[in-house]
């Protein structure tokens, strides 16, 4: 790691996870471990058809099962504002009139036990009028595709488009969203280019596959109040959703969140919570709705996509102009797709200089699992296409792919597009960090080994609000409350270190509390690598204010000026004397505070608050007779601004890289006849220990320009972005064959090898 000089006591140290002991001993408690007295158990009946009209639902036999307390279906939604979605609210809480993907919730049952709930849903009789399925983008855009919706616009809360862009909501049947972005005189720029490359790339359907499935426990004590315990990443957003859907005051909706067993975007925004609330309100009893992992995999996934890139470069290899046309398969419902389309639509410039970039991203509706937010929010898509094409262009114009990249990197402090935040990192330094690591590569005659690079730069921290509160107790203990959810990114540990640094105290005496929306400070959601940076700033400010409260009180007790006091190690220092907090609490006085509190709120503007760059080199060995590829080496470098906790930074990048490796080589929920074939933990292939190369290195750079506390920036979403392109580039380097469709399974690699053998040797 290239580290900043560190004179800090806690920041920059690899403190172990503050909940680590509990997680290692089994004492840690998650929402799926939570129960309430008298709780009912819910199960969901799902549609077997990808597309059908619901003719009738007969739940009488389900209600007759002893122990069944309530059944809900689409008709229970009448009178409610019954749809949800991040920007476009098109997804019904439970299917109404129609089903639009195999696995869509049709009805739900609450019973005394889960076993009885299962028996009851099996007894529900549904009559369907089956309609044709739309399994992929091409099917949806075909002239004879059946419309999924009736053509009316859905309610939306879309924000005005960012600079240089425009959008249209639901412009045509089966098109959810059409986003355009442009700067520069595109066609004139292409006309001046020496080389123009046009290539098409595709991505498959990746599943988040977090280990803890979605769970929600809801209780409605009366018709006006709801309390929910869930593992959603966004308890404060959920509070608003539940209030809106059920016509409640947000103050009367209370969400609780504790430790979450993995997210990666799957537990962002509204998911299953309204079904649990619906059953709780219907039965008057607490209801626990716990999905299985297979059900979670059918709740949300990432977007399959087709990306066509037309890229022009000058005779000397300068990147000049790019035109990107993207179709995202958004599945049956909007979820976060419009937001993903907007984010990726403004980022096709990547880490390079351009005179013009034009993008069109359309979200297409299909009868498949709704696609939503996934680690990287579309930047993985952008990077797969752009960084693959960078190598292809380099090959066509006779430059080394590393040199081609290096000559076009944006300079630190410059802006890649109109209105875009200036670059707060040094791309060349980072690139050299990984390039230099492979300088020792033996370029032996063993030709089937290859090396590939990829670079990406994702923005983070935009339009986010994070609040925090610090309470210093007279005992010397500190309570830290912030609304960021602990989903495995170890945010609680990071925030603890920030508070300890500001307060000059032992981390062991800081306790981070679970989230309760009635008392925990607001947070607009655990997304976009915000936790350490934005919540970190709020914690820093809250701790500063709480310490000031201590000194103000101490100055009063000691009859001195605040400026003459300092606060370290929970001691108030006055000249040569020092006092503990309890020393200053005079039991005879009435004005003793219960604790010294500091609260702070940080609101970030739109656009990226910081850049998360990632530089990757992959080495592979390809069996050119079978197309079997072995990843032999993987090196990532990332700039984290300042590593508050180097170990946690490394863990984030390693974990993301493993997800990128899975996406590169095998992860895919594939469909046949409208049915998902691999949407179960047994059939969905994801990385195991043996898939990870023994030579797997992560380099943390501290380039010192982060906007977060002590110069930190986010790191959670960078490590996966570059892996597929780096591997594709390495395969091309090894055997000269280019795979442009993810995942790069052996059959595709072998086909590419065969195609190269039969074709002229153009392009790498």
């Amino acid at each position: 790691m290239t580290a900043l000089p560190n004179t800090l006591a806690h920041v920059g140290r690899s403190l172990a996870d503050v909940n680590g002991h509990d997680k290692l001993t089994g004492a840690a408690r998650y929402a799926s471990d939570f129960s309430l007295a008298g709780m009912l158990h819910a199960k969901i009946l799902r549609s077997p058809h990808p597309h059908a009209r619901i003719v009738s639902i007969d739940a009488s036999k389900a209600l007759a099962v002893p122990g069944v307390v309530g059944v809900v279906s689409g008709e229970d939604l009448s009178g409610l504002d019954h749809t949800y979605g991040m920007f476009i609210r098109d997804q019904p809480v439970i299917a109404v009139d129609k089903v639009r993907f195999a696995g869509e919730p049709m009805a739900a049952v609450a019973a005394e036990t889960e076993e009885l709930a299962y028996r009851a849903i099996a007894a529900i009789h549904v009559e369907y009028d089956v309609l044709p399925a739309i399994s992929c983008i091409a099917d949806a855009l075909a002239g004879n595709a059946p419309p999924l919706f009736d053509g009316r616009l859905h309610p939306s809360s879309l924000q005005p488009p960012p600079l240089c862009s425009s959008w249209v909501q639901e412009p045509a049947p089966n098109i959810l969203f059409d986003f355009s972005y442009s700067f520069g005189d595109i066609e004139a720029l292409f006309a001046g280019c020496a080389h123009i490359s046009e290539d098409r790339f595709t991505l498959a359907r990746q599943s988040h596959a977090a280990l803890e499935p979605h769970v929600a426990i809801a209780f409605a004590s009366d018709h006006e109040h709801v309390e929910v315990w869930s593992n959603n990443q966004d308890p404060f957003l959920l509070r608003e959703d539940i209030a809106r859907i059920f016509g409640l005051s947000a103050e009367n909706v209370r969400f609780h969140a504790g430790l979450v067993g993995g997210g990666f975007g799957s537990k962002s925004y509204c998911k299953i919570e309204p079904i649990a609330v619906l059953l709780a309100r219907k039965t008057g009893r607490p209801v626990r709705l716990a999905l299985t992992m297979a059900e979670s995999m059918m709740t949300v996934c990432d977007h399959p996509a087709e990306i066509r890139l037309r890229t022009g470069v000058s005779a000397s290899g300068e990147t000049v102009v790019r035109d990107a046309v993207v179709e995202l398969d958004g599945g049956a419902y909007a979820d976060a797709s419009p937001s993903v389309a907007m984010r990726m639509g403004t980022r096709f410039n990547g880490p390079y200089r351009w005179k013009g970039v034009r993008t069109r991203v359309r979200v297409i509706r299909t009868t498949t699992i709704p696609a939503g937010s996934f680690r990287g929010f579309g930047m993985g898509h952008v990077t797969w296409a752009c960084e693959s094409q960078m190598d292809m262009i380099a090959g066509r114009i006779g430059l080394h792919p590393a040199a081609f990249r290096a000559q076009n990197f944006l300079d630190p402090g410059s802006s890649g597009a109109p209105g875009e935040r200036v670059l707060d990192c040094d791309l060349t330094e980072g690139f050299n960090a990984v390039r230099n690591r492979i300088a020792d590569k033996t370029t032996s005659a063993n030709t089937n080994r290859g090396t590939g690079f990829a670079v990406a730069c994702k923005g983070g921290g935009s339009s986010h609000r994070a609040d925090a509160r610090i309470d210093i107790h007279p005992t010397g203990d500190v309570t830290l409350a912030a609304g960021v959810t602990e989903i495995g990114q170890n945010t609680r540990t990071i925030l603890t270190q920030v508070a300890a640094e500001v307060l000059g105290m032992d981390t062991a005496r800081i306790r981070v509390v679970n989230i309760d929306t009635h008392s925990t400070p607001f947070d607009s959601g655990t997304h976009a690598s915000n936790g350490a940076t934005v919540a970190g700033l709020a914690v820093r400010d809250a701790a500063t204010k709480a310490a000031a409260e201590v000194l103000l009180f101490a100055a009063g007790r000691l009859q001195c000026r605040v400026e003459d006091l300092s606060f370290r190690q929970m001691l108030i220092v006055h000249g040569s004397a020092s006092y503990s907090l309890s020393d200053l609490i005079d039991p005879t006085m009435k004005d003793n505070p219960a604790s010294f509190s500091g609260a702070a709120s940080v609101q970030t503007p739109g656009g990226s608050l910081f850049w998360m760059p990632i530089w990757t080199v992959a080495e592979v060995e390809v069996d050119d007779e079978t197309g079997i590829v072995r990843l032999t080496r993987l090196i990532n470098a990332a700039d984290v601004g300042r590593a508050i906790n180097p170990q946690r930074c490394i863990s984030q990048i390693e974990g993301a890289a493993a997800q990128g490796l899975g996406q590169a080589l095998f992860e895919d929920i594939s469909y046949r006849n409208g049915q998902p074939l691999t949407a179960t933990p047994l059939t969905y292939r994801m990385p195991r220990l043996a898939d990870i190369p023994a030579d797997f290195e992560t380099i943390i750079l501290e380039q010192g320009r982060g906007p977060g506390p002590f110069g930190a920036k986010g790191v959670g979403e960078s490590g996966n972005l570059t892996i597929p392109a780096a591997i594709a580039n390495a395969i091309a380097d090894a055997v000269g064959a280019r795979v442009m469709d993810l995942p790069m399974t052996p059959d595709k690699i072998l086909r590419a090898i065969r195609a190269k053998a039969g074709a002229s040797p153009s392009g790498r």
Partner: protein
């Protein structure tokens, strides 16, 4: 096939109550199987049977055979090795006698599934589960094993080769209790390729037949109808590389087209299987002195 019906999630909570029977002798187990025939499931290690129950395949009776005397354990005879059907994979891996007599089988078993599966799952369960991708039938076929069944209707013993079993298993062969697996005890080389698992895995065995020829069998696992198995024969001259490619090609041409339930298409399989077979033959012919 492990493809779920998406209407109702697979779950342990979907397993309705059943009547549990825990016989302790083979005769008792047989009685129960004959009595309940179609209404009973056999439970040994329990992995596949439980996953199947979670997906909604339920029977009113479950016959747990783990405590049946004589159904598990490994016996080494002069000419034959006998492995009880309810022997767990792990116990095959660690058996010192078997490791001495047929070490490559121990190593092969050590690569099945994962350690949790091998600790719990049994050799008989692997065969009787009839799941595509399960490798035990293939390795037993190439080792010329016999499956020993007790026909619970007639109370007689039936010995079937793996090939015979694969042929009749789909046609309701009646209440059969797999009691043991018998393998000839003789020098034999075994090699396998699992690089494309779970879609595809290959195993081959080769031995001297005493007439100057090398004979054996090769099997491909992955198709839903069970492993594809055929004999191979090599002359001493056939050890040379180009010929092994031809032998592999000819061997593959005798197989029906493999259609995989998941993963790569038939075209890829038909290209790659001969290559992997050739490599197995190369390994085997080197391994056999």
């Amino acid at each position: 096939m492990l493809i779920d019906d998406h209407t109702i999630a697979a779950s342990r909570r979907r397993i309705a109550g059943f009547r549990l029977h825990r016989p302790v002798t083979i005769d008792e187990a047989c009685d129960l199987l004959a009595r309940f025939s179609d209404g009973a499931m056999l439970h040994a290690g329990g992995i596949d049977v439980t996953n199947r129950m979670k997906r909604g395949f339920l029977q009113p009776h479950v016959i747990a055979v783990q405590q049946v005397a004589g159904l598990s354990g490994i016996r080494l005879g002069e000419t034959e090795i006998e492995i009880g059907a309810a022997t767990r994979h792990w116990d095959i891996e660690i058996d010192p006698g078997l490791r001495h007599a047929l070490p490559t089988l121990c190593d092969y078993v050590a690569g099945l599934g994962n350690i949790r599966i091998r600790m719990q799952g049994t050799i008989g369960g692997n065969i009787m589960a009839a799941e595509p991708g399960y490798e035990m039938p293939a390795v037993l076929a190439v080792l010329d094993a016999e499956l020993v069944f007790r026909d619970c209707a007639t109370r007689t013993e039936r010995r079937l080769t793996v090939d015979q079993w694969l042929e009749i298993r789909g046609a309701n062969p009646g209440p059969l209790l797999l009691t043991s697996i018998r393998l000839p005890r003789r020098p034999i080389a075994l090699a396998w390729n699992r690089q494309l698992r779970p879609a595809l895995s290959l195993v081959a065995a080769l031995r001297h037949d005493g007439t100057g020829q090398m004979r054996g069998r090769m099997a491909v696992t992955g198709g839903s109808s069970g492993p594809l198995i055929a004999d191979i024969a090599l002359t001493a001259a056939g050890r040379e590389d180009p010929d092994l490619g031809l032998v592999a090609r000819a061997w593959v041409d005798r197989l029906p087209l493999l259609q995989l339930p998941l993963g790569p298409d038939a075209g890829y399989c038909s290209e790659v299987i001969p290559i992997l077979c050739r490599r197995l033959l190369q390994t085997l012919s080197k391994r056999l002195p």
